[in-house]
Symmetry: C2
Subunit: 308 residues, 2 copies
Amino acid sequence: MAETARIAIIGGGFIGRSWATLFAQHGHEVVLQEPNATSRAAMFPAIRASIDQMAEAGLITEAAGDVLDRITSVSDLAAALDGADYVQENVPEDLEVKRALYRDMDRLADDTTVLASSSSSITCEQVCSELAGRERCLVAHPANPPHLLRAVEVVPAAFTSETTVERTVSLLSGVGQVPVVIGEIDGFVMNRLQAALAREALALVSAGIADADAIDSVVKHSLGLRWAFMGPFETMDLNAPGGFEDYALRYGVPFARLFGEDRWPVGAVASVHASRRKACHLDELDDRRNWRDRSLAALVRHVRQQKR
Amino acid sequence: MAETARIAIIGGGFIGRSWATLFAQHGHEVVLQEPNATSRAAMFPAIRASIDQMAEAGLITEAAGDVLDRITSVSDLAAALDGADYVQENVPEDLEVKRALYRDMDRLADDTTVLASSSSSITCEQVCSELAGRERCLVAHPANPPHLLRAVEVVPAAFTSETTVERTVSLLSGVGQVPVVIGEIDGFVMNRLQAALAREALALVSAGIADADAIDSVVKHSLGLRWAFMGPFETMDLNAPGGFEDYALRYGVPFARLFGEDRWPVGAVASVHASRRKACHLDELDDRRNWRDRSLAALVRHVRQQKR
């Protein structure tokens, strides 16, 4: 894809506007399509407010007007897709709505245009399997809002081409995102992890062990601060002398028993340990722990300084 | 408890040293008991390194030497408990080891001395039910390390007195911690939530959906950044126009179905919503969302500026 691509954003709601902000901030030419006139009128003031907030936080230095100049709005789908290199779709999570839209987009867009969906739950397989151009379709599910949070779950269907995945990953990396290619599964990774934590938290509330405030306090003053810069596996990897495998030896059985299971799955433990060792050799673990401790102290100071 | 209390820390390993650092930093007189001479010799250099790291991060301004002057080390348990207002125990997670120690502590300590355990899994009920002074015993399980992370799970047994809980909460709040009183359950809240997330993450690895690196990337560039300053329930509360109850209407069923369940537990949803409304009325939600967005942008900037 060219350094400056033409990006069509379909749907001018919260997520669509945030995508438009992100792509325009990084120099791309953005066409933001929204059929509803009232919603369309609200888009630019909302985007401007996002840019102002980023400027206030020191995340952007370019003048808001210059970023906004790279975004145009249209009501018509065909006009949005005309000449687009990449399409990011953000319509409601309704299978029939998405299917009808993708039939139109597949007909209107150039053969090589990537059609990416922001869907948080509906898979590409469900929406696109009947399309002639299904190989250029996939899901690119962002964290919310994508102009601030970098994670994007890139979820190809079995029929999605390698080229489509590569072009999507390349485009998203180029605008500072962290695209993560994963397999198709209900809820993808982000919402499955969120739902697993929420399920246990609600069970603790149901059992009268803790209320919502207690649970939020525990997470934000402990696990959340580690997961904010390491994620759960690196956190555990650094919390045992011999890395994740050692952690699993120490805590795998008691943690599994909390949920009526005997142990953690052996193959998954080996896989996680192998991934971690690619990122950080055993003899580098102590250096990494020093990095973690410095990062944690700096993060704690940052959070304590913020207004409540 | 007096403004300046005498604190006995039992066990000079990583957690014991961190507790000693925290209490001494806040002006208390600390006696750190460690029977092993080699471990005892290593304690002060390690504590000094922690204080230096805090100073580097701007978390402490007092000279390290002044903080260290408030910590003395002893090998003998009786000497440590002599005149102690509060005891924080940090011996290995071995039921028989803890039982033997608590028999000695209950005999040696003043009647009014609080005996708090850093145990991450063994409950006060298991260790202390036979003791004459069991009403002054409880668990105070810290996040690791307590001199940086504020969450402390305060877990009384059925026989623990109200006064013991109140004195513990007051002392911990006074040194800047966030004590959270919860009911007794295996793993308490912190490790149950960590284990629930780890369980789902390992299942995704087992199923070949994502590897460890992908999962860590998704969490640290999305959920982790929100949980670091809000916790999971406030995150969800702010993510639906009508608060948590509205969020549950939108996502409760699809999230529950990921785990083969029909819906989220109705009573728990109502309880969480009620807790959230005590913290933030419905008509204050928009202000709180603005706070969230500013906090998130500032946190994102902080994390991006840190060295990898």
